[in-house]
Symmetry: C2
DNA sequence: CTTGAAAAGAACTGCCT
DNA sequence: AGGCAGTTCTTTTCAAG
């Protein structure tokens, strides 16, 4: 495992929040020069600690004002049913995130819909018809706040 | 609300997956030139549809191999208790995501821990001592798959 | 680690179809 | 809207302290 020092952690903290910053800006923020910052970022990327760069979309601005989290417990758990379920759930365009979990539920899904009516349509016609669905729990998201996480 | 055409949607689909691509590369992928692609990306950013750019971290590579989702129902729901709870939960470094939700639970938290022992420590000393916690449900994440979402 | 420099490429601008 | 050409900036690599 690669060991990171405080400077690496500071760099990650910045880039997780805003990856538009240049290596020079990041370097200035953490008290090192541009080449040093660049080398560190490259090392973190090469070692897979930085796993990728993505743009974040404003779902509301795209007309998808409703985000719902579903907890799904499968009725019949066989080896094949997990794969069947995953294949089917992956084909639903409104599903943003599929998490295989251990606990009260077997899967957690993040769904985006235009409005509650649209969500009901997705739930009835897409989710409830998935192979093997048992108990389904829904939580509508009101607000969300991302935190830096274990980096501090 | 800004209306997007198919080209805009194609651009977003690419950048949500990998934002390291240059405007020229994105343009080539959607069949337009570099300046046209750049102008579209800028417009999408200015209109807030692209809400930001972030690096994705590999929590496992950072030594945080365990991700747990907590559903939390507050015991006493008063006007102040929501704010007290949010303030306290925000101060826990292992909390990556705080979602205020409507449904069976009041909040959903994403927690990262080094291992299950570490998670138990966080749960007992940090989560269970939060102001107003009632019912707590935990799901340990096994795997996660992101999908393009409503864009296609 | 730093500074400085140079080459490549990406970002940005103005003009034209 | 898109394309072309040019300018400015960052990125990326180097040498040297």
């Amino acid at each position: 495992m690669t060991d990171l020092d405080d400077t690496d952690r500071a760099i990650l903290r910045i880039l997780v929040h805003d990856a538009t910053q240049s290596a020079a800006q990041v370097g200035r923020a953490v008290g090192i020069g541009q080449p040093a910052a660049w080398r560190r970022i490259k090392r973190l990327t090469d070692h897979g600690i930085i796993a990728g760069r993505r743009v974040m979309l404003d779902n509301a601005a795209l007309g998808f004002g409703v985000t719902v989290f579903l907890g799904i417990r499968l009725a019949a758990k066989g080896r094949t049913s997990l794969e069947d379920f995953e294949r089917a759930v992956t084909a639903i365009p409104e599903v943003q995130l599929v998490q295989h979990v251990l606990g009260q539920f077997d899967y957690r899904l993040r769904i985006t819909a235009r409005d509650i009516t649209d969500f009901e349509r997705i739930l009835r016609r897409r989710i409830m018809t998935l192979p093997g669905v048992g108990q389904v729990e829904a939580n509508v998201m009101l607000s969300e706040e991302r935190r830096p996480g274990p980096l501090g």
